[in-house]
């Protein structure tokens, strides 16, 4: 089952909205080696392109050409913004992007090692392009892809988190008075700057906001020379791959059937390409053309109604208090498709 929550290292406002309403974007390599945090993203653009590859051959004197189909290419483009409300989140966003930027690259294996004078020289052989599995709500459900491109852009207009070079006391305002030494004035101020001070406070609480540093107050950092953007945009292009042939009919279907060949991962009955919600009895849950041809759980719509009516009648015979859930298993056992 798809994980429904995300928002690790994301600020509470975005996390709360995501937890209540939006799906997280979940990307992991098919071999499970690379797993990125489930992120709530600000979706800027999403598009899917379907390009049937057909060869068109013109024949002199003929009005229509000869057309031959080979396959259909499905590509997915995703553009989103990752926003940061504090230094910690900005760093997490950049780390996330660094991992994601590796996705268009292949993997290599050492094919040979040569000794040249006193050092080893490696020969690398291209091994494979990593496949990733992407989940994004009903739009992308365990979709296997090859990432073909990754674009990363910093939105400088949104601002950056600067190095905090201003010297400050490491005492809280109500503690400053304690540093007053009679006849000598205040004690020497700390040599820390505000960036280092905020870093210390953040890390002292296990990289979480606390009483001394609230979530939105961590806006300077102590790393001279570094700037952390408040907003970055990511654009990834993916080529969708499918473990089963996509077509109507075909070898998985009975002859004469015009049902969709793809019935979901692990043989589960499923819509394709997008999920359409609803419970198992909803008319939107699985389209008739995606249903198997002959199974106990697959019913033509008129037969479904008949069975459900029988169920309701059965339940009406005995007072069982709250109406029970209609059991798909019961229905499957109650009928025999002839």
């Amino acid at each position: 089952m798809t994980k429904r929550t995300g928002g690790k290292d994301q600020y509470s406002f975005l996390k709360q909205i995501g937890d209540q309403s939006y799906p997280p974007l979940i990307i992991q390599s098919a071999d499970g080696v690379v797993t990125l945090d489930a992120k709530y993203i600000i979706l800027e653009n999403y598009s899917e392109k379907y390009k049937p590859k057909i060869v068109i051959e013109h024949i002199f004197g003929q009005i229509n050409p000869r057309v031959r189909y080979s396959n259909t290419e499905r590509t997915i483009d995703l553009r989103f913004t990752l926003a940061a409300r504090n230094v910690h989140e900005a760093k997490a966003n950049l780390e996330y992007c660094s991992k994601l930027a590796r996705s268009p690259y292949g993997t290599w294996a050492v094919s040979d090692i040569n000794q040249v004078s006193d050092r080893a020289v490696f020969d690398w052989a291209y091994h494979s392009q990593v496949s990733y599995i992407v989940n994004f709500g009903t739009l992308l459900r365990n979709q296997t892809v090859k990432v073909t491109s990754f674009d990363f852009e910093i939105n400088f207009d949104a601002g950056v988190f600067d190095y905090g070079s201003t010297p400050v006391s490491d005492k809280m305002p109500d503690q400053v008075v304690d540093n007053y030494i009679g006849g000598q004035g205040y004690a020497e101020p700390s040599s820390k700057n505000i960036g280092q001070l905020l870093d210390d406070r953040w890390f002292s609480k296990g990289q979480q906001p606390g009483a001394t540093l609230k979530e939105q107050e961590y806006v300077y950092h102590g790393e001279a020379g570094a700037v952390y953007p408040k907003a970055v945009s990511v654009n990834i292009s993916m080529l969708a791959l499918h473990s089963r042939p996509l077509c109507f009919g075909g070898s998985p279907r009975t002859e004469g059937s015009v049902g969709w060949s793809f019935t979901g991962e692990d043989g589960a009955v499923s819509n394709w390409p997008h999920g359409t919600g609803g419970d198992e009895f909803s008319p939107h849950s699985v389209a008739p053309y995606c249903q198997p041809d002959e199974t106990g759980t697959s019913l033509p719509s008129d037969r479904t109604e008949q069975v459900l009516d029988e169920w309701d009648a059965k339940m009406g015979e005995v007072d069982t208090g709250d109406p029970p859930e209609r059991s798909l298993e019961w229905i499957a056992n109650s009928i025999e498709l002839k």
Partner: protein, 227 residues
């Protein structure tokens, strides 16, 4: 013997929120776009919200320049017709969004052919017929009935213009927002997210219906029909 999946003819949304829906307007005006997958007979309807339409007819000529002649010798190799149009699908409720997404699913499945049980592609491949708003249609075949002309479809396919789609793009309008429902995604329990407005962009090559009319020409006399 159990049942076999048969062709599905998916109509406009007709659910409980129809009065809020574009489907209501489309029904009232007769503005519908119908896509039919020829190999299977599956069809799906959408409100006719066409935002752009282009129809190009271009011939490929083979020219031979002759010495001292002003004009070349010209021979037509072929003439191709290409069509492109955009339309959008908007949803006013979660229920309608689910319905529309399923309709769009069927349209996207139509980008794939029907295969025989030995996995060979069944004719005519991914040919789709599109009909709607008069200007997306086949030529009108007319016969004299009494004192006037009357449309008939004795020899021309009435399911609309035949197109081999080269590209179909599904692009949610993110500015219009999304309709969401957390963790209610049917059998898989995924989070539901439906764009409130989705742009569809289609480009393709037209398959020209032809028949021999009284003038012995393969193209109908009113081809292409825009009205």
């Amino acid at each position: 013997m159990g049942f076999l999946v048969e062709k599905e003819n998916r109509k406009l949304y007709n659910g409980v929120h129809k009065e809020l829906s574009l489907a209501s307007w489309a029904d009232q005006q007769g503005y519908t776009l119908t896509f039919t997958h020829v190999a299977t007979g599956h069809s799906v309807e959408f409100p006719g919200t066409v935002t752009s339409f282009t129809d190009s007819h271009a011939s490929e000529l083979k020219m031979k320049m002759l010495y001292k002649e002003t004009d070349p010798l010209v021979r037509t190799q072929n003439t191709m017709r290409k069509i492109s149009f955009n339309f959008y699908v908007a949803s006013a409720s979660l229920e309608e969004a689910r319905y529309n997404e399923q309709s769009l699913n069927l349209l996207m499945c139509m980008m794939y052919p029907r295969r025989n049980t030995n996995n060979t592609v069944a004719a005519p491949g991914t040919l789709i017929r599109v009909r709607g708003l008069k200007f997306i249609n086949t030529a009108r075949e007319q016969i004299f009935v009494g004192s006037g002309l009357k449309d008939t479809h004795l020899r021309i396919n009435s399911d609309g213009i035949g197109i081999y789609i080269q590209s179909l793009e599904y692009s949610p309008d993110t500015e219009a927002g999304f309709i969401t429902s957390k963790g209610t995604g049917g059998l898989h329990g995924e989070d539901e997210i439906y764009p409130a407005r989705i742009e569809l962009s289609i480009q393709g090559d037209v398959w020209i219906d032809q028949y021999t009319a009284d003038d012995w020409q393969p193209l109908p006399h009113n081809y292409p029909s825009y009205r």
